[in-house]
Structure formats: structure tokens, C-alpha cells
Amino acid sequence: MSFLRASSPHAHAANNTTKVMQTVLLATLPGLLALTVFFGPGSIINILLALIFCLAGEALVLRLRKRPLGFYLRDYSAAVTAVLLGLALPPYCPWWVVMVASVSAIIIAKQLYGGMGYNPFNPAMVGYVVVLISFPLQMSQWPSPASLLESLPSISASISQVFTGQGLDAYTSATALDIVKQNNSQLISQVYADSDLLRSGSLAGAGWEWVNLGFLMGGLYLLYKKVFTWHAPVAMLASLSLFALLGYDSGSSQSGGSLSLHLFSGATMLGAFFIITDPVSSAVSNKGRLIFGAAVGALVYLIRVLGNYPDAVAFAVLLMNFAAPFIDYYTVPRSYGHAKPRKATEKQEP
């Protein structure tokens, strides 16, 4: 009898990419729960729509590329993209916004670059930015948290809002970041006192703080599961905090906003634990991830405070995706038996 011939190692750790993706999906649940509790079923509708469009788009391209559908759909990478996109888009946004975002994410940002593992940019963020730039009106309509409304939108009303643009009345309001951004004459304490949203929250406005705490929980779970290392998220949060502290300016009218506002509003935690930890489009080495995370944190703050857009995670991540190969280039570790790490420009003649 002839036995199977294979290269060593013959043993394999119990993890695999599919399981990693499933764990990530599981970890988004606390954040999704918070979104649903405070903003209604809009995010769930977003996620479902994004799932449909993303999986359909992935299947279409795989078919065109003559790749086995089952094998690739089962790796859950498209599902993760869809869920992250659904979480990032404003609830109750029109269905076609979700569609454009999904198609951009899967077909343009992922498959056109060669599919999973080959995309230089985070697909969910590409999809988000495409619609953010294309449809600024729809993308700026964030609903008010439930505490400011009489009741949460019903499912049927939500669905009709998504598909027909009617069904919900006056459900939107400015987000915490919007409010701080638009302020240029009042002290921060006055802004907080004037805004229902900010006044009713304890950290960064009603609802938002809980959503971010939810994502933080999910992120800690992923850290515990060793899905990624601590380097990128910690670096990002640390640099964002540093900038927030430096720019707080004791709450003057020119203040960039408080530390808690920056950490717990907008997409900070979603970005820190679910976006910049995407291994494909971020830096590889731990040192590189520290640099990557820190740079994202800095960019987030700068764009939030100095830029035109109220939130900035997507732009910051995409900008740093550009820089990731460059970071890798200069953060090559020193190999065993070598006095110095390899120089980035070195190319050995065989």
C-alpha cells in the first residue's frame, strides 16, 4: 500500500479562516443590539439588504471568474463585509444606497483586485465612502435615538421608509459629532446644555455611547479569542485620545470636543476593532500595526475637527490602506542570525 504523501507539518492548529470570520460576525452582535435598541430596526434592515447584495455580487463575479461558488461563499468574508457595511450606513437609508455601497464594496474594492486576500482597501469602507461622497444628503440623515422620539419606528414603517422614502416622519436629527462640529461660538458646556442629544447621554450623547460600548465589548471578545492582536486598536485609540486631549482647549468655543466624545461617538469603536483590524488591508507586523493604528487615530481626529465631514473613520482607514505596504516595507523584522533588519530597498542577486 502506498500512503499519502504530503509536506510537513502534518499537524494543523484548529483555526481556519471561516471560523475567524464567524467569530467576527458574532462579535458585532452587541453593537448591533445597541443600534437596534436605540435607533430601531433600521440597521438590521441595512444588514439584511447588504448581505443580499454582497453575496449576490460575490456570486456573480465568482461565476464570471469561473471559481467554485460554494468554496468561496463559505469563507464568510463577503458576509463580514456586508455586516460591517450595514452597521456603518445610517439606518433607514434608501435601499439603493445600500445596493450601490454593497456593489462598490464587493465588486470594485474586492473582486476587481483579485478577491479575498488581494484587496488593498477595506471593501466595507470603500463602499461606505462611495455612497458618502455620492449621496451626501441621504448619508447625513441619522435617526434620533429612541429616547428623543415618542416611540421606536415600527418594522413596517421602517421597511416602507427604506423602499419608498416615506413612512417615517421627522425621525432624523444631528449626531453628536455634527453638533460639536457646527458649533463655533459657544463653549462646549453650553453646547451640551442646549442639545437634547448630548444632555441625555453621559459620555457622548444618547444611544451613541451605548453603540460604541457595544462594539468595544465585541472587540474585547475578539482580542480574547486572539483573532487579532491588540496593537492596531490600542494604537488608534491612544493616538485619538492624545489628540483629543491636546485639542480639548478646556472646552472653549474652538475646542475639538472632549475625550469621551471622540472615543464614544461616531464609528470610533467600530473602526478600532472591526475595520482597522482587517488583516488584508492593514500592516502586517506588530510594529507596523502600531504605526498603522496610530496614524488612523490621528487622521480621524484631524478630519473630524478640521475637515468637512463630521466623521472620518472611513477616510482615515482608506488613507492608511494606501500607506500599509509602505509601512510593511520599513518594518521588516530582523531575521535570526542577521545583525540588522533587511533594508527596504535591498534586492539580492541570486
Partner: protein, 211 residues
């Protein structure tokens, strides 16, 4: 005579002319002093060619072809070197790598060496004269044989043999030259992922019969 009193145009002409003379002299000296013997680009190209001297490119050897390339000939005429050689020459010359020109032959995956079926050899020495590598030993009316280590597999000796006793054999895999093969990159992509591809033929058969 005061130089500054000259007409500016004349002055300019003088200065420029003087400069031209000085630099011309320096360049002329450098050209003589640092003259490079031979044409290094030809050497570099020749280094990349596989040195089978097979003549499939239409030149009587690798060096003439290297000279040809240096003079602007196509770089895709070398089947023994294959795409790898074309790529590295393209790299060297900074041009796009074309596909191998099928007119000159096709690339073969396996390297071969000539083998003389010795009891058929009539000792005509024709192959000896054809071998560019002096890799065939023999004498008139004596059986000939190939020094396998020196044979480049150019197959130039096959044609002249009057009794067709030379054949090209694949180089045998030995413990010395065995190496691991790259895993097929398509193993995951092709098909319905084929765990069966990783089984031994017997196992697949068993499954077939079971099914």
C-alpha cells in the same frame, strides 16, 4: 587688451568656445583612458542565455545570438531558455517581455540529454562533429557515447546520425537532483475542491467503486 572691453557677443563666444575645448579635451582623454574592451551588454546577455548552443534561434551559438540581441534582434527566440530567460533579458534591457516565438521551437518542461543506443552505433563520428559541446566520445568504427553531464540537450546530434541510434532521454530524477514541487496554486481554485486530488490514486479508485 582689456578683456572686458570686448563686445559681449565676442566675449560670450570666446568663453563658450574655450569651455567647449576644455570639456572636449577631458572627454576625449576619458574616452581613451577608460575605454571598455568589448561590449559588456553582449556579455551580460550571453550570461543569461542557457548556453546550449543549439542554434534554434538561427545563430550558430549563444554568443552570436547575444550579439544579435544587442543589435536589436527579438529576444524571444530561445526555446531552451524559455520564458524565464526571456523575462530576465527583458529585465536587463528594460523592455517588455514577449512570449516565446513558437517559430523557433517550444519550451519543454523536462530537460533531456542525448543517449546513444550503443549496439546500433556504427561509429561514423557524424554526431561527434555535430556536438557543439564536445560531449560525445568515440572514434571511427568505435562505438560512441555521450557524456551526460556535459550534454545540454540541444539535440543537434540526433539529425546527423545515419542509423538513428541517438535519442533524447529525460534526465532522471535522483536523490541529488530531486526537489519539492510547488503546491499547485489552483488546487484550491479549480473545481469543486477536490479533496480527492490529494488522495492517492488507489483511494480515489476505492471511492469510485464504492460509489
Amino acid at each position: 587688451m582689456d578683456i572686458s572691453s570686448l563686445h559681449p557677443l565676442v566675449l560670450a563666444l570666446l568663453v563658450l568656445g574655450g569651455l567647449a575645448l576644455v570639456f572636449g579635451a577631458i572627454l576625449g582623454f576619458a574616452a581613451v583612458r577608460y575605454k571598455i574592451e568589448g561590449n559588456p551588454i553582449v556579455d551580460q546577455i550571453d550570461n543569461l542565455l542557457p548556453q546550449t548552443q543549439c542554434g534554434q534561434c538561427g545563430h550558430p551559438g549563444c554568443r552570436p545570438y547575444a550579439e544579435g540581441i544587442a543589435n536589436g534582434e527579438e529576444i524571444n527566440k530561445c526555446p531552451p531558455g524559455g520564458q524565464d530567460t526571456i523575462n530576465s533579458i527583458a529585465d536587463l534591457l528594460g523592455v517588455d517581455a514577449p512570449e516565446l516565438d513558437a517559430e523557433h521551437g517550444t519550451e519543454s518542461e523536462l530537460s533531456t540529454v542525448a543517449y546513444i543506443r550503443e549496439d546500433e552505433c556504427i561509429g561514423c563520428t557524424k554526431c561527434i562533429q555535430a556536438c557543439p559541446m564536445d560531449a560525445i566520445l568515440g572514434a571511427a568504427k568505435q562505438m560512441h557515447t555521450v557524456i551526460a553531464d556535459e550534454c545540454t540537450g540541444c539535440d543537434l546530434c540526433v539529425e546527423p546520425c545515419p542509423v538513428d541510434c541517438i535519442e533524447m532521454r529525460e534526465v532522471e530524477v535522483t536523490m541529488q537532483n530531486w526537489k519539492w514541487q510547488l503546491p499547485s496554486p489552483l488546487a484550491a481554485v479549480n473545481s469543486d475542491i477536490i479533496a480527492s486530488d490529494r488522495q492517492t490514486p488507489q483511494e480515489t479508485k476505492q471511492e469510485d467503486t464504492a460509489a
